[in-house]
Each structure stands twice: as C-alpha cells, then as structure tokens.
Symmetry: C2
C-alpha cells in the first residue's frame, strides 16, 4: 500500500471527506507518473493532460509548482516507482450542482513500479466489454472507469496480460490500461481517441517523435493481420505483443526494437535493465 498525502487546495489534510465529489460521482481526474531515480518522467506531458481534463470538467488547474514540489518530496530517494495523482472537484453538498467555492482535493501516493514486461512479449485477449461513445469525456483521464474495471474483470488467467477494447461501434480503441499501435505497411497506427479512450502520454510521445506513427481507425481484422503490435503507457513504456487469441507475433522484430531504442534514447528511464 502506498503512503498517501492529501490536500484541500494547498493545505495538507489528514483524511478524505466522505462527501468528496471524487467518490460521489468520479468528479475528478488522475495521472499515473513513472518515478525514476527520484524524478518524474514526462512531467510536462502529464500536467498538459491534467490541464486539458480540468478544462473539460470546468475545474481550476492546480498550481504546477505546488504539484512539482509535492511530487519531489514524495519521490525523494525512490529508485523507481509509480506516483498516482488524483485531483477532484472537492467536497460538495448533496446533488450534481457544482459547489460554489470548493477547493479541489489533491491526493498523491507512491507505489512500487510494476514488474518489467515479460521478455517473451505480452499475451492479449479481446474483451467483450465495449467502450461507450462520449466525445465530451474522451481523451482525458477522468475518474469514471467502470468500463475498464468490467473489462479487466473478464479474465483472471495470469497468463493473459491485457485485453483489447472496442467501442460500441466495433472500432478498436485501446487496452484496459494502455494504448495500442499496430504496424501495417511500415506505419505504426494508433486509433483516435475522439469518441472514447485516453490520450496516453507514451502514445503522444510516439506520435510526436516517430515519423512512421500515425492516428487512424483500426478494425479487429487490421489488428489481427498487422505485422506487429505494441501496447504503451507512461509507466511501462513500450510493450511488445506476442499473442492475441490464436494470432502469434515475433515480439522483438526490428521495427519494435527501433521504437524501443528511440524511446530509451529520449527517456533513459525506459532503457532496458
């Protein structure tokens, strides 16, 4: 269990109010940030996504210097970990109406870093749970995550590492806690996140830094006939995929290793141990 710190606005508080709108309605946002050698990785990108989320929800963005200072204090001496930041709209009266003057609630906790990805590559499945189409909430990392919970609850076999999700229109979107790129005709294709899904920080890095990376819709068949597939997220980086249902891929083909090497060159936190 991580050590948690909580603030009301910028004042430290000891405990969460059960009337917090984060609990009542999932009325808030979160970020999960890789800590490497005591430092957050991709801090600016996490803060940019948090700011976009605050804009969508009509919340004030917490002060970036305050968050950075608190992150540094919590992460000091941490060789590798995952810092979770939650920002909620604060405590409200009963009902959906926005509180007139509630300072946001901030929560930070530092967990152990996840295990490194298996050398032999990830094994995936298709999830039956579909993501609903809601352009107003797509892209941001809000606290309404029951679809992901239901999708992840579809399997308990530890040999299956992740599940791929489609939206209610049948288009491929992402994994339960990662974005997805499929290699086709020399291009690394990732689905748009305009209708559902999350604008992942590692996904954004790939789209900006890899000339072959593009955003375009993908069907189930296009995934299954791809030359290679990777998952990615901000804490685990690039995860080569070895299997999806009956389909097998060689997870460490040159195109995948090129991506991983490019990432490691830019962010040493993702260099292979």
């Amino acid at each position: 269990m991580p050590t948690w710190r909580i603030w009301r606005g910028e004042y430290p508080i000891a405990t969460l109010d059960p009337g917090d709108r984060g609990l009542a309605y999932g009325d808030g946002l979160f970020e999960t940030i890789l800590i490497h050698a005591g430092q957050p990785v991709w801090w600016d990108a996490h803060m940019a996504r948090l700011r976009r989320g605050c804009n969508v929800l009509g919340m004030a963005m917490p002060d970036g210097d305050f968050l950075r200072t608190q992150c540094a204090a919590l992460s000091a001496g941490c060789a590798r970990g995952a810092l979770k930041l939650i920002v909620t709209r604060g405590v409200g009266e009963r009902g959906y109406v926005l509180p007139a003057e509630a300072p946001p609630t901030l929560v930070m906790g530092l967990s152990k870093a996840p295990q490194p990805p298996p050398r032999e590559g990830l094994t995936l499945r298709w999830c039956d749970t579909r993501l609903s189409i809601q352009p107003r909430l797509a892209g941001i990392k809000h606290l309404n995550r029951l679809e992901q919970v239901l999708a992840r609850a579809e399997w308990s076999d530890p040999a299956i590492h992740e599940g791929l999700l489609r939206d209610t229109a049948g288009r491929v979107v992402c994994a339960t806690s990662a974005n997805l790129f499929a290699l086709r005709d020399g291009r690394w294709i990732t689905p748009p996140v305009r209708d559902c899904g999350i604008e992942g920080v590692c996904r954004g890095w790939l789209l900006r830094n890899v000339p072959q990376a593009v955003e375009r819709g993908l069907s189930v068949e296009e995934i299954e006939t791809a030359d290679a597939v990777i998952l990615c997220n901000a804490v685990r980086g690039i995860l080569p995929v070895a299997a999806l249902g009956m389909r097998r891929w060689s997870p460490h083909v040159a195109a995948v290793e090129d991506l991983r090497n490019a990432l490691a060159a830019s962010e040493p936190a993702f260099a292979s141990p």
Copy 2:
C-alpha cells in the same frame, strides 16, 4: 454537511482510504433514500436496485439486516432527511484488476431533506450533454456520474430547476437527477433505461402501481407535445412540470393530481404538507 459513518465490511472505520476503488474508478454504487419520521421510505426497492448493481459489477451484496440497522441508528429522531448510502469494491492495489479479498467500503450520511417542490411546478431546459449508450451499466446507480455533472453544469440560473437529457442517438432519457413521465393519449409514458439512465425507485413504483404508466421510447417532439410532464425520484416523489423552453403546462391538471394522490395514499411520506 452530513454526519458520515464508514465501515470496512461491517467494521466501523474512522476514515476513507485514499486507495479506495470508489475514488479511484467510481467502482461502486449508491442509493439516496428518503427518511420520514425516522423511517426509510421504499427501503426494499432501494435494496433491490443495490443488489442488481452488485450483480452487474460482480460485488457481494452487503448484508441487508446490517444496512437496515445502521440506517435506523443514523435516522433515529429524524423527521425528514435524505440518507445517502455508498458501497464500493473496497481498497485495491494499483490497477483495474479486482482485489482478491477486499471487504466492501460502506458509507452512510444523513442530509437535510430537499426543499418541497415549487407549487407553481418545475421549469426545465434541454441539456446539450448527451448520455452515452452503455447497456452493461444502464439502469444501476453506479458512481460514474460525470455525464450528470456536466449536464447540471450547463446552467446556473436558479429559476431553472432541472435539465432533460437525451442519449447520443437523440432519444429522451431522463433529467439529471430524476426520471421522467409524459402524458400522451391518456398514458403516462417513461423511456426505457436499457441503454443508459437509471431505474429510479419512484419510476418503478409508478410503473407497477399506475395502470396508465408504460415504458416506451420518447422523442423530443413527443415531450414537447405531451399533455403533461412530471419528473420523479425517490426523495422528492412526483414533481409536476410547468415549463420546458417555450412550452408551458398547467402543472396541477387532474391527471397529475391523480398520480400524486395515488402516491400519497400508498406512501404517506409523500402527502402534501
């Protein structure tokens, strides 16, 4: 602010764990129950909906006798109030995977009852925010309520009491915190809640007890050309509607008063003061 009580399973605890999945993912359910003369109104219907929600989310239903006893203790001496019950999947490790053995978190708080509805009837607006279509989560009262928060944030004019919501296919569903019935050709029609929306407790009472009440899809035009419109929920009962945009209705026509009288005869808590 209400007085809150919290339990881990059936053990009272002093504070919420910031790692609770209710906060992290909205991974839980709630009920808002009218307390009248120290007693909960429609207790069995609230418990039935909570049980359906637990089944959908794959959570164990808390013991009903335990909940009833704690509700009675909190409500003793309360002439009229609104009891909020939250049930979450409990505290988990990082990630969506279900915790192996987490007791649920229970939260109860008693608030003042809301104001009685305005005698002149409610004034409504159409919301721009659409409800997404997600049959797996429709009907139950889960904690993922950002769509309702965004819809309620569309207006701040206190002269507007509620907003009506359509789904992403344009069908009328409900108000931000109430269900809806429209009177047409002598029938009280309420939209189905199979794709989105909540199976309201007062809605269920009306469907079971009013012979003219039926479930059927409703378009915007069918609402605007209805002979009368009411909203309903478990805390406020039946709320006559007087205005929606430019449309005006006489809120206390005989058909509406018949509904209200039938409800008051069955549940004295809803008798007019």
